[in-house]
């Protein structure tokens, strides 16, 4: 039932892709058929995955594909079910949003066929990754996912930046995939087979297990965008069309998380606490770096991409905690960490998808990706603005929306550190928790900036001033995700219960304490330790705020509220350039955390030659670069080029030299064999 649904979902996505090839002949019908199929595929994924998750189904099947002695194994279990649901939800939203969004590509010189084809392949590949049950099928699906998304990143290839981004993306995807392949290779070597079933039985020596873990962490971390392997992410995600960015940021990163969980918790047979520590530290690092870099961006989609790095970091912190607890024999707490991580996975898919869709809407209507030129959109695009606000609140982890719940759970997991024996861990974990707190606060600051600069205040450019609200489908796509953000924020108890089968599958126990006091109260560890009644919080907010509103606005219906010019120290009329820009907004933070970025700042003063004291013009330039680029990636590139140059010298072009090579080789080999 669930597996067949999942397979139908894959087929649906494939069909949508293949049908897309006809887009040049019948643009409009093909468009709608494609997105309908995509939506159905998403729906199928949600249903199939949901069935597997809620009823803890495990179904396996073998397809006559692949190598003759290694057919493709498929399998649906609660874990893959959960990720199917995640994929499905965002896919549905995208399929609602897409038809409106691709309109701007229809009249470009680019045929939309490629767009539809690779979108379908992309979704199908992601769904296939999570239901693959042997290394070969997994890798095929995985690479297909990378490849198709690469073509989508390169879709608008008339811009050189996109081409560079696509190249970098595919290169790093390839390297990561090779690492994953090796990780599977280790397991296969010990387990004597490529099917996950055989790998589960592999009895690894600790050293080889750690090697496998390191390879997997490298490979999946590169895809998930863990710092400092994140470098491709902020370049590739903005380059793709926005609904694809939503899929990549919202879902593809999650598929990498899935791979990590599947590999460490399932195949590798039980995590170890030191791996968990590594993951925890890596997670904290990329959470903090991600948000700090995001703060300095003024390209909306780039900024969102950096926030993906941050959120992946948070997810990995949860996983790391789970591994530490599991490795030190506290399964109950391990479950808590795992649930927190999975919950945040779901949430990030929702709000990051929502935010990218919103960014796409703005981009389509105002043709502006740069915050510095936006402003006042809340009046031009009220609905999009509302949904985007919900996204901002959720990602800033503010109650009562969903982002808060998962971070709260992560905190709760971290606060259980005293249960550990090792004093080092006990001291270290709370510190990482504080890092998480810092991250959350900075994220809030960042999204105040985004929303304030983009949607509030006055428009900073003509296009933005004349932007119009997007069409119904696009609004529906955003609305769906926004609604889910609220639902999963207000009903955490059910969500946690729904996640329990996964915990049972991976760690052998659930989280019974979470709902001992009924659906209203979320009490992850015990009612005594911590409790959170999200529905009551929502109700309370409405109660107190609403009561006040009612009290205060009951009278005075008669006279309309007067509007006046705000106070500007008496300088003439207010204009848009008086507002704080995004660069200005983050200036204090830039001063405080200066060493983190590579900041190039220069001020050019032009003075009146007649009287040198008079300043006629002032030009301010600010470039902020990613440090890891300079310190890690450029040296690598230089090394390869240098090596290539050196090797090139052997090919002199003189045939006599070549003959000498031949003679020399001959002599050496003869000498070797005798």
């Amino acid at each position: 039932m669930s597996l067949s649904l999942a397979e139908w979902a894959v087929l649906g996505a494939l069909a949508s892709g293949l049908l897309g090839l006809a887009a040049d002949r019948y643009p409009v019908p093909v468009k709608f058929v494609c997105f309908t199929l995509l939506g159905l595929s998403g729906l199928g994924a949600v249903l199939g995955g949901g069935d597997a998750l809620l009823h803890a189904v495990t179904a396996v099947q073998t397809l006559p594909l692949g190598l003759p002695w290694l057919h493709w194994h498929l399998r649906v279990d609660p874990l893959s079910g959960f990720f199917l649901v995640v994929i499905g939800i965002v896919t549905v939203a995208v399929s609602l949003y897409g038809p409106g969004y691709v309109r701007e590509y229809e009249h470009g010189r680019q045929s939309t066929a490629a767009l539809y084809l690779f979108t379908g392949l992309f979704v199908a590949a992601m769904q296939l990754v999570v239901i693959a049950d042997d290394a070969f099928a997994f890798l095929v699906a995985w690479e297909l996912m990378s490849l198709s998304s690469y073509f989508l990143v390169a879709y608008q290839h008339q811009h050189a930046a996109n081409r560079r981004a696509a190249f970098l993306y595919l290169l790093m995807a390839e390297v990561g995939a090779l690492a994953i392949l090796l990780a599977f290779g280790v397991l296969a070597a010990f387990g004597g087979g490529f099917s996950f079933e055989a790998m589960r039985g592999a009895a690894l020596t600790p050293v080889w297990a750690s090697v496998a873990f390191a390879l997997a962490l490298f490979g999946f971390g590169m895809k998930a965008g863990l710092a400092p392997l994140h470098i491709w992410l902020p370049q590739a995600h903005p380059a793709a069309p926005s609904h694809i960015s939503a899929l990549m940021s919202g879902v593809m990163l999650k598929v990498a998380i899935y791979g990590l969980i599947r590999f460490v918790f399932d195949l590798l047979g039980g995590p170890r606490w030191d791996w968990g520590l590594v993951l925890l530290l890596a997670g904290s690092a990329s959470a903090l770096l991600g948000v700090l870099y995001a703060l300095m961006q003024h390209d909306l989609k780039r900024l969102l991409a950096y926030h993906s790095v941050e959120n992946v970091g948070i997810i990995c912190m949860g996983l790391g905690l789970a591994m530490i607890f599991a490795g030190t024999g506290h399964p109950r707490l391990a479950v808590l960490g795992l649930v927190a991580a999975l919950y945040h996975t779901l949430n990030h898919a929702l709000f990051k998808g929502l935010l990218f869709l919103g960014a796409g809407a703005v981009l389509q209507r105002s043709h502006e990706g740069d915050l510095e030129r936006m402003g006042g959109l809340i009046r031009r695009m009220p609905v999009t603005a509302l949904f985007f606000l919900i996204g901002c609140i959720s990602i800033s982890a503010l109650p009562p929306f969903n982002g808060f719940v998962s971070e709260w759970l992560t905190f709760q997991a971290a606060l259980q550190a005293p249960a550990l024996h090792s004093g080092v861990l006990r001291a270290l974990i709370p510190v990482t928790a504080a890092v998480l707190a810092l991250t959350g606060a900075l994220a809030a600051a960042c999204f105040v900036k985004v929303y304030g600069v983009a949607f509030l205040g006055r428009a900073r450019s003509r296009h933005v001033r004349h932007a119009r609200e997007v069409d119904l489908g696009m609004r529906a796509g955003q609305g769906l995700l926004a609604a889910l953000c609220l639902v999963f924020g207000v009903l955490p108890t059910f969500t946690v219960q729904a996640l329990e089968p996964i915990a049972h599958q991976l760690l052998g126990r659930g989280l019974p304490s979470a709902s001992v006091q009924g659906w209203l109260w979320l009490t992850p560890v015990s009612p005594q330790t911590a409790s959170y009644a999200a529905p009551l919080v929502l109700a309370g907010m409405f109660l107190f705020g609403g009561v006040m509103f009612a009290l205060l606005n009951a009278r005075r219906r008669t006279r309309a509220v007067r509007r006046t010019v705000p106070w500007t120290c008496g300088f003439g009329p207010l204009d848009a350039r008086m507002q704080y820009t995004s660069t200005a907004f983050t200036h204090p933070i830039r001063r405080i955390f200066r060493p983190v970025w590579e900041v190039h700042e220069e001020v050019e003063e032009t003075r009146d030659p007649a009287q040198p004291l008079r300043l006629t013009g002032l030009r301010y330039q600010l470039h902020i670069e990613d440090r890891s680029w300079r310190t890690l990636y450029e040296p690598l590139g230089r090394w390869v080029t240098a090596a290539a140059r050196r090797v090139g010298k052997i090919q002199t072009g003189s045939v006599r030299t070549y003959l000498a090579y031949s003679l020399f080789t001959l002599l050496v080999l003869l000498w070797l064999v005798t």
Partner: protein, 491 residues
Amino acid sequence: MIALYLTLALPFAGALLLGLIGHRRVADRVSMAVSGATFAASAAVAVRVLRAGPLLSGGRMFYIDAFNVYLLVLTAFVGLTTAIFSRPYMAHEVRAGRVNARRMRLYHSMYQGFLFTMLLALSTNNLGILWIAMEGATLSTVLLVSLYRTPESVEAAWKYFILCGVGLAQALFGTVLLYFAAARVLPRDEALLWTALHAAAPALDPAVVALAFVFLLIGYGTKVGLVPLHNWLPDAHSEGPTPVSAILLGLLLNVALYAVVRMKMLVDPALGTPLAGHLMMGFGMLSFLVAVLFLHRQRDIKRLYSYSSIEHMGLMTFAFGVGGPLATFGALLHMTVHSLTKSSIFITAGHASHIAGTQRIERIRGLIRTQPAIGWGLLLGTAAIAGFPPFGVFTSEFLILIATMKAWPWLTPLLLLGLGIAFAGLFRHLHPMVYGERPAGQGPVAANMLPVVVQLALVLWLGLAIPGFLAHWFDQATHLISGVALSGSGL
């Protein structure tokens, strides 16, 4: 039996015929027809072998087993597709005045002659004939490499001729040594028959056989393009007409590697030591690593892809050297998918250079916007050769990597490094060629994309699922070469 003789006779007759009428307009159609017939005949042979197992012809001159039957078919097939491709391509060259009718006659005749030598080398049972066929392959293509008579092409032809000639001379010396060793345990007239030698291999004298293998490895390795004997390869492939490059890359290298492996199969039981395997691993790894670095500094599109061929031949040689069912199976599969992919890449690359009017990479721009079929063909082909699923190259590389992981774990980082660098080297040049705006005054050209489509489709098919009979052959060949069948070893 008849089918086999036909497979050999058709291209030979074709060579003679086209030597007479090659300058006529119908020549290209005749060439296509002959190649098609050859392909059909080879397919018949394949069916025969599939039904009745290995086929040893009367007089034991020819021997077809699981190892060379699919190479036979593959060779005939690539010969056919390339012939199809060469029709519009050479027509364009004639129009452009780069070749005249006389040279077209040479071209067509030699094309068939080359196919004949390839098929002969594959199907013969006699190591001496094998050598003769290999030499014949060189001789028949030298003048094709220098067909354009540009200084570069002549230079390339010279290097090709001299280096391969010297190499093959060494191979002949190896053959003589082998004969010298075999003549003591076998009757003189059998001493060069591969079947007899294979049967008597354990009795051969190790020392002499080791010597012989060195000469054979260097000799045929020169044709495989193993570093440091590879220097002729990029020149010959970049300067000749593209169809010639396509068949040289797609077929000649395979056949040379086939010869090396055949020798290894003789040497291993004779020596009882993994010497041959280790030598091949060393050469393979060296070629692989050096070639991937070369990729980065290319300025000529066909040179670029010839270096990628060196890389892949190195990988296969390495895999055969590793031995064992996994690696051998992977290498056999890799031979197939590589020649399919690479020849289709050369087809598109040829058209691309026609579009831009040059082979210089920095002048080839905006292919997708100019002629989507060619742009996408090149892009997908390169993605396939770079080892992206669902294309078959991924499957073979997967097997090879896993096998290396099992046998020589500390060599895998080198392989990974190489694959990464190779990927970067290919795509850094590919991106500006296929993407971007279409340059002013650049228009589409007449092209027949059927071969590309068919070949890439085949590669895709092999990536998704390997058909039973092919898998069966691969498995038998694996059993022949490595002594263990993959199906038995259990995946």
